[in-house]
């Protein structure tokens, strides 16, 4: 029996573990090693250069532009997306007309709203990014056409072509793509909070604004925290790369105004043939990610309340 059990365990684990080790673990470990070499990626020649790549980072102005933009995304994207998500979810759940017994109630048609809001979540990033790229097009895009239609002929921004606006345009698309998911997620959480809590608070003279901050938010905090980390990783990694790479001019432009860390890693490896240096940029991205997760995990740790 024991013998059979171990053979079974090994038999079931060996293939998934092998795939995972070869394609996920080993590249991560190698990346750290390569960050101490002058590897170009074009040939297999390389030599150890110690911390040269890392000291070079300090003098690389494009790197610092990318850090600035990535950190801007990291600070704003989760907060804006989650706040909008919480706001709409709260409107869905307490904005309804008062019924006979219930003190608060959901709005009519909340199911329909949720179905619509979730649309962007099932679309791929290229679809969303390309759609917005057209909408931002200065000549024929939907936005400038709209401004013309309402008589604002002078307001015809360059959107993605304007270094002052480009990053905000991309952030707008990313927010658009993600809010719906959090509306649905938070709404599910809110509808499971017992109505008596609100009833008691309203009897005690609280208004709806207070109930949100005193009851809803604390009880949803675990979910908000998880969402915050998801959004943070999204702002730093894959999603930011895809949106910037597809939407921005350059990509990363104009004038490095949309350059972000994952895009810079990609460009240094596959455009400039500096794979060793690129991995040191990747390692700094990893460090930013870990610091961010650690901070969010510590924010408002509290006892879990079961209800």
């Amino acid at each position: 029996m024991q013998h059979g059990k171990y053979r079974f365990i090994v038999g079931f684990l060996v293939i998934p573990l092998a795939i995972y080790a070869i394609f996920v673990i080993s590249p991560f470990v190698q990346a750290i090693y390569y960050s101490f070499t002058d590897w170009t990626g074009l040939s297999s020649d390389m030599k150890m250069v110690g911390f040269d790549n890392y000291t070079r980072l300090f003098k690389d102005s494009v790197f610092w532009a990318a850090v600035g933009n990535s950190v801007t995304l990291l600070l704003l994207l989760p907060v804006v997306t989650l706040s909008l998500g919480l706001f709409f979810a709260f409107m869905l759940n307490v904005g309804g007309r008062r019924r006979k017994k219930a003190v608060i109630g959901g709005v009519r048609g909340s199911g329909t709203y949720k179905i619509l809001y979730f649309f962007p979540q099932v679309l791929s990033i290229p679809i969303v990014a390309l759609l917005f790229q057209f909408a931002y097009n200065p000549e024929s895009g939907a936005l400038n056409a709209f401004f013309k239609a309402i008589g604002l002929d002078n307001v015809q921004p360059d959107w993605l072509g304007d270094p002052q606006l480009a990053l905000w345009c991309i952030m707008g698309a990313m927010i658009w793509a993600n809010v719906g998911f959090y509306v649905v997620l938070f709404s599910a959480g809110m509808s499971s909070i017992p109505k008596d809590f609100y009833e008691a608070a309203l009897l005690d003279g609280a208004n709806r604004f207070n109930t949100f901050f005193r009851i809803t938010l604390p009880l949803l905090w675990d979910t908000v925290q998880t969402g915050w980390i998801y959004m943070g990783i999204l702002a730093l990694d894959v999603s930011a790369f895809a949106f910037v790479q597809i939407m921005s001019v350059g990509p990363g432009g104009p004038d490095y105004s949309t350059e972000v860390l994952p895009l810079y890693v990609y460009q240094k490896t596959f455009r400039d043939g500096q794979a060793g240096y690129a991995t040191s940029i990747g390692v700094s991205l990893l460090i930013v990610t870990l610091i961010f997760s650690a901070i969010v995990m510590r924010l408002g740790r509290r006892e879990r309340l079961e209800f």
């Binding site: 394609f23 996920v24 706001f87 990783i233």
Partner: protein, 300 residues
């Protein structure tokens, strides 16, 4: 778990009966306000999508001349051009092959690993579990540089099976995390009964445990399907050598670049719409399952 997922409230029949005079002013103002903001966001979400669909029926002149106008005639030829000449058909097929293979592989291998890690005690169990789960928090771009060269040395670049293996690898962390949590909640008695009746561990897994885990498998299956179908970063790095092997997401971006040069905007909108409608259609049909699948991870 402090916040439970509940069934989405029924869409209709909730509002009607109540409002009989006793409503306060505050409530009514709030009601109007909340409908107002909810409708605005609803429009913000749907307008760009509708705009793309409408534009796909226009000719290029109309797209430039009146971006918000309706098409004068329905130009279905845009769609035909995108499907044939711009290779959307081929890209669709490539995505189907890759995601078909990787989804089956992810579900099979992920559930096997999760089951063993959730239900058996052996030295190294915790270590392997955290090795898998830890993969969720790392920036993938860091691994991609060496991964490209690993794939190159194994002659896996620009192949279906190479992409399938990589998709499986990067889907395993969440799959193992989610399913091992799920297997842990299932009762042990049924599996024990099967073992006592002489079934092997393997047979118990496939014939007893997997059927019991069906709700969890569906959730994580939908999650993985959408993630892999919409995958853009991995193919952008690992599948660029052969234009005929592009998956749909890559194909769209390539289409945007090439049609941009040719000025064939209508073909491009048709391509976008072709890529968009099947996913939206499937979502509307399986709405409840899709929402449950995608939110499952965040609610655990």
């Amino acid at each position: 778990m402090s916040v439970q997922t509940t069934k989405p409230p029924a869409v209709t029949g909730r509002g009607g009966a109540g409002g009989k005079g006793g409503e306060s002013g505050e409530g009514r103002v709030l009601n109007v306000f909340s409908h107002g903001v909810l409708v605005i966001w609803g429009l913000l979400v749907t307008m760009p999508l509708l705009w793309a669909v409408i534009s796909s029926f226009k000719d290029d002149g109309e797209i430039f001349g009146s971006p918000w106008g309706l098409p004068s005639a329905l130009h279905f030829d845009n769609w035909a051009r995108a499907w044939d000449k711009a290779n959307m058909g081929q890209y669709f097929f490539n995505s189907l092959v890759v995601v078909g293979g990787s989804l089956i592989g992810t579900m099979l291998l992920g559930s096997m690993a999760a089951y063993v890690l959730a239900r058996f005690d052996f030295p190294g169990n915790r270590f392997i579990y955290f090795l898998f789960v830890g993969g969720m928090g790392f920036p993938i771009i860091l691994a991609l540089v060496p991964l490209f060269f690993v794939m190159k040395n194994m002659a896996l670049l620009d192949t279906y099976h190479g992409l399938i293996l990589v998709y499986i690898g990067y889907s395993l962390p969440f799959t193992v995390f989610f399913l091992s949590g799920f297997f842990r909640t299932l009762p042990t008695s049924v599996a024990e009964a099967a073992l006592i009746d002489g079934a092997s561990h393997t047979r118990t897994f496939f014939q007893v445990m997997l059927p019991m885990a069906k709700p969890g498998l569906i959730s994580v299956g939908i999650f993985n399907f959408l993630g892999q179908w919409n995958q853009y970063l991995l193919p952008t790095v690992l599948n660029v050598g052969d234009p005929d092997k592009k998956v749909l997401t890559q194909g769209l971006v390539a289409l945007a670049v090439s049609q941009g040069y040719k000025g064939d905007w209508s073909g491009l909108f048709a391509g976008l719409t072709i890529a968009m409608l099947p996913v939206l259609g499937a979502y509307i049909i399986f709405q409840r399952q899709v929402v449950a699948g995608l939110t499952a991870g965040a609610l655990k």
